[in-house]
C-alpha cells in the first residue's frame, strides 16, 4: 500500500507545471505518472488560423528557452516547402545564434540541476555566468530570449566585426568558468553522491523508450541531428558529438557541460569563417506556398525537435504539428522514476531525475484550454480535491 505523494503543478520549487503522481513507500518511489495538462495553449490549433509569416512568431513562443531552435525549424520547414533557399551567410548566422541559445539553455539547466540538489551557490553562479550569453543574444538579435531573429528566407540582422569581437572575448571568459564547473561536477563528493547512479536509464531502455538529446546521448545512444541529418551548414563547421555511457543523471550533466564547450568552439570557428553576402531572401508579401507537406528536424538543446507542415495552397497551413524533445523524453522519465531492477529511487531523487531530462512542459502542452461549461474552473478544483480524498 503506497502513499500517494503529489509533486504537484503548483509545487513552489518545481520548475515545470506538471503534476507528478508518486506512489511512495517510506522514502522509496514505487510508481509514477505524469499529468501535463496544466499549461495547454493550443499552439497547433492556433497555427492553423494564422498565416505562415504570423505563425513564425507564434512558433517562436512555444518554448521560452529554446526559441532559436523553434524559429530555425519553422523557417527551414516553410523554406523547403516553398523551395526557397536561405543565403549562405544567413545559414552561418543561424548556426551561431542556435549554438549561443544552446549554451544559454544548458547553463540554465546547470543552475536548475544545482537547485534541485540544493546547491544554492552553483545555482547563483551558473545564472550569473549565463547573463553574459543573454547580453550577447540581445546584442546580436535585439531580444534576450525571444530573439525574433530567424524569418522565412533568412535572418534579420547581421553581425559586424565589433560584435564578433565582443562575442569571442566573452565566450573565452565563459569557457574558463564552464571548465571550472566541469571539474566541479567531476570532483565534488556531494554532487557526485547525488547524481551518480541516479535516474538510471540503460542504453537499451533509452532506445526502446525513444529518448532523444542529452538523455539518449548519456546512455550511449549516439544520436545527434546535427550529425545524422545536418540542416544548416553543419558539415562545414567541425564538431564532435558528445556521448557518455554512464546512463545516469551525472552522465547527462557531463553531456550538457561538454556540449557547452563544443558550442563555444563552433561559434568561434563560425565567426572566423563566415562567408560574406546577403542575409535574407525576399519572399512575396502575401506568401502562399504550393500545396504539399514537409518535415524539418532540428537539434534543440533538449533533444530532437520535429516540425511537420501540410499546406493546401492557401496562406494558412492546413495542419502544423510540433513534436518537442520533452514529449519524447516523457516516457523515459516515467520509467526512470520507478524503482525497478535493483535501482531504488528516493523521494529526494525525484527533482533530480525529472530535472535531468531538462523538461520544458510549456513546449509539450500545446492545445487550447477552453472551458466548455463557463464556470468549469471552479468545479474542477473541488473535483480535484474530492478525487484526492476518494483515492
Amino acid at each position: 500500500m503506497g502513499v500517494y505523494l503529489p509533486v504537484g503543478p503548483q509545487h513552489p520549487i518545481h520548475p515545470e507545471a506538471t503534476l507528478i503522481k508518486l506512489k511512495i513507500e517510506g522514502e522509496y518511489v514505487v510508481d509514477a505518472d505524469i499529468d501535463a495538462s496544466f499549461v495547454h495553449r493550443g499552439i497547433e490549433k492556433a497555427l492553423e488560423r494564422k498565416t505562415y509569416i504570423q505563425g513564425l512568431f507564434l512558433a517562436e513562443r512555444i518554448c521560452g528557452i529554446c526559441n532559436a531552435a523553434h524559429t530555425i525549424c519553422y523557417s527551414i520547414n516553410i523554406e523547403s516547402l516553398a523551395g526557397i533557399e536561405a543565403p549562405k551567410r544567413a545559414q552561418w548566422l543561424r548556426l551561431i545564434v542556435e549554438e549561443l541559445a544552446r549554451v544559454s539553455s544548458h547553463l540554465l539547466w546547470l543552475g536548475l540541476l544545482a537547485h534541485s540538489i540544493g546547491f544554492e551557490s552553483l545555482f547563483m553562479l551558473a545564472f550569473r555566468d549565463r547573463e553574459a550569453v543573454l547580453d550577447l543574444m540581445e546584442g546580436i538579435t535585439g531580444g534576450r530570449v525571444t530573439t525574433g531573429y530567424n524569418v522565412i528566407g533568412g535572418v534579420r540582422r547581421d553581425i559586424d566585426a565589433a560584435m564578433a569581437h565582443k562575442i569571442k572575448s566573452s565566450l573565452t571568459q565563459l569557457k574558463e568558468r564552464v571548465l571550472k564547473y566541469k571539474r566541479l561536477l567531476g570532483e565534488d563528493p556531494i554532487v557526485r553522491a547525488r547524481t551518480v547512479g541516479v535516474g538510471y536509464l540503460s542504453s537499451s531502455e533509452a532506445k526502446e523508450l525513444l529518448a532523444v538529446g542529452p538523455v539518449a546521448r548519456a546512455s550511449g545512444v549516439s544520436y545527434d541531428i546535427r550529425v545524422d541529418d545536418p540542416y544548416l551548414v553543419h558539415e562545414e563547421v567541425p564538431f564532435n558529438p558528445v556521448v557518455y555511457d554512464t546512463c545516469d543523471a551525472w552522465g547527462r550533466a557531463m553531456v550538457r557541460v561538454d556540449e557547452i564547450l563544443e558550442s563555444i568552439g563552433m561559434v568561434t570557428y563560425a565567426l572566423d569563417n563566415i562567408p560574406s553576402g546577403e542575409i535574407r531572401a525576399r519572399i512575396p508579401q502575401f506568401f502562399k506556398p504550393p500545396p504539399g507537406e514537409n518535415i524539418a528536424r532540428v537539434e534543440a538543446p533538449r533533444g530532437e525537435l520535429l516540425h511537420y507542415v501540410r499546406s493546401d495552397g492557401t496562406d494558412k497551413p492546413y495542419r502544423y504539428k510540433v513534436r518537442t524533445p520533452t514529449l519524447a523524453n516523457l516516457a523515459a522519465v516515467i520509467a526512470m522514476l520507478r524503482s525497478h531492477g535493483g535501482k531504488v529511487v528516493h523521494i529526494a531523487d525525484v527533482p533530480v531525475i525529472f530535472g535531468s531530462i531538462d523538461p520544458c512542459i510549456c513546449c509539450t502542452a500545446r492545445v487550447l484550454v477552453v472551458d466548455e461549461k463557463g464556470s468549469a474552473r471552479e468545479t474542477s478544483l473541488d473535483d480535484l480535491s474530492a478525487r484526492r480524498r476518494a483515492r
Binding site: P12, A114, I117, D188, P351
Partner: protein, 317 residues
C-alpha cells in the same frame, strides 16, 4: 532585585540574546550572499541590518491559521516550548564575562540535554500537523537526530575532559584556544555536527525545499512561524557561542582588568562571528546530501572520529 530582573530581561538576558541572534542571522545571510557574488539584505536599515527584525515583524502581521486536522494544542505549544528551551540553553553560554547568565556545576550536560529536547520538539511539531510534507519532514528530522547527536556530544565531552571541568564558566576562565594541532579534529567535528543540528546546507534534509516544500515548517504561519525562525536564530547563537566557549577560549582576550566587562562582549562577538563565518562557508560551498547518505556519513566517519578525538583528549592533551 531590580538589577537581577534587569540582567535577566535586558543586558545579558533575553533582549540582548535576541538582538545577537538577529545580528548573527544578518551576518550569515550577508556573508553567504557575498560568497555567491550577491548583495544580500540591503534595504531594511543600514546595510540591511534590520532585515531579520523586519522579517520577524512582518510574520507577526500575517494571519495565523491552524490547519484542520492538526492537533491544536501541540501545534501551538511546540513553538513556545522550543523557544523557551533554547533560550534557557543560551543563557548558560558565557557571553559578557567568563560566567554566563546562569552557571551551575555540569551545565555543559544541561546545554546538550536542552538541545536534544529542542530536536524532539521539532519532531512533535512536524508530526502534529496533518500535511504529508510535514510528516515526511518530521520523520527525517528524527532520523537525522540519530546521526549527528553522538558526534556533537562526544566532541563537547572531549573538551570537558581536556579542560577537566563540567562548568562552562571554568572552561571559559581557562582561556585556552583548542583549535590548533589535535584539537582541529574536534573543532571540525563540532562544526559539522552543528551544521547538521541547525538544519543548514548540506544537511537541510528536514526542510528540503525542492522535495518536501519546507518540511516540518510547511503548515506554520504568522507568530508561530516567527517564533520558530527566531528559535533557529537563537540556536545558531547557542551553537556558535558554545563553539567559542569550548574551542576558542571563551569571551576572554587581552584586556586591562578595568575595561573587562566592556571588551569581553566584543571578543565574544568577534569569535562567534568567526564561527558563523565558517558555518556559512560550509553552507555556501556544498549541495544537500540524501538522508541515507547522511546517516552513513555520520556512523562511518563522524562517530569513530569523535571517539578517537575523545581518546586523544583524555590521554594526550
Amino acid at each position: 532585585m531590580i538589577p537581577k530582573l534587569l540582567q535577566v530581561f535586558v543586558y545579558p538576558g533575553i533582549l540582548y540574546m535576541v538582538t545577537l541572534a538577529f545580528f548573527l542571522e544578518w551576518l550569515d545571510r550577508k556573508f553567504v550572499a557575498r560568497l555567491q557574488n550577491r548583495v544580500g539584505p540591503h534595504y531594511a536599515g543600514p546595510y540591511g541590518l534590520l532585515q531579520p527584525l523586519a522579517d520577524f515583524v512582518k510574520l507577526l502581521t500575517k494571519e495565523s491559521t491552524v490547519p484542520s486536522g492538526a492537533d491544536g494544542l501541540l501545534f501551538t505549544l511546540c513553538p513556545v516550548t522550543a523557544f523557551i528551551v533554547v533560550t534557557t540553553a543560551v543563557s548558560f553560554v558565557p557571553m559578557t564575562s567568563t560566567r554566563g547568565l546562569l552557571s551551575t556545576e555540569g551545565d555543559v550536560v544541561a546545554v546538550l540535554a536542552l538541545i536534544t529536547i529542542y530536536l524532539l520538539l521539532v519532531y512533535t511539531a512536524g508530526a502534529s500537523s496533518p500535511s504529508r510534507y510535514s510528516l515526511v519532514g518530521a520523520v527525517r528530522a528524527a532520523h537525522m537526530l540519530l546521526g549527528f547527536e553522538l558526534p556533537l556530544m562526544l566532541s563537547c565531552l572531549s573538551v570537558v575532559a581536556s579542560a577537566g571541568s563540567f562548568k562552562l564558566s571554568e572552561i571559559a576562565a581557562q582561556k585556552v584556544w583548542r583549535v590548533f594541532g589535535l584539537h582541529a579534529l574536534g573543532f571540525a567535528i563540532f562544526l559539522i555536527a552543528a551544521e547538521a543540528e541547525l538544519d543548514r546546507l548540506p544537511f537541510d534534509i528536514p526542510e528540503a525545499e525542492q522535495e518536501i516544500v519546507s518540511g516540518w515548517l510547511v503548515e506554520y504561519s504568522s507568530w508561530r512561524l516567527a517564533l520558530l525562525r527566531l528559535t533557529k536564530d537563537m540556536e545558531l547563537l547557542l551553537l556558535s557561542g558554545l563553539a567559542t566557549t569550548l574551542f576558542l577560549g571563551g569571551p576572554a582576550g587581552p584586556a586591562p582588568p578595568s575595561a573587562e566587562n566592556l571588551l569581553y562582549p566584543l571578543y565574544f562577538l568577534a569569535k562567534t562571528a568567526l564561527v558563523v563565518f565558517l558555518l556559512s562557508l560550509i553552507r555556501a560551498s556544498s549541495a544537500r546530501i540524501r538522508l541515507d547518505q547522511f546517516v552513513t556519513l555520520c556512523w562511518r566517519y563522524l562517530v569513530p572520529a569523535s571517539f578517537a578525538y575523545l581518546m586523544l583528549a583524555v590521554w594526550v592533551v
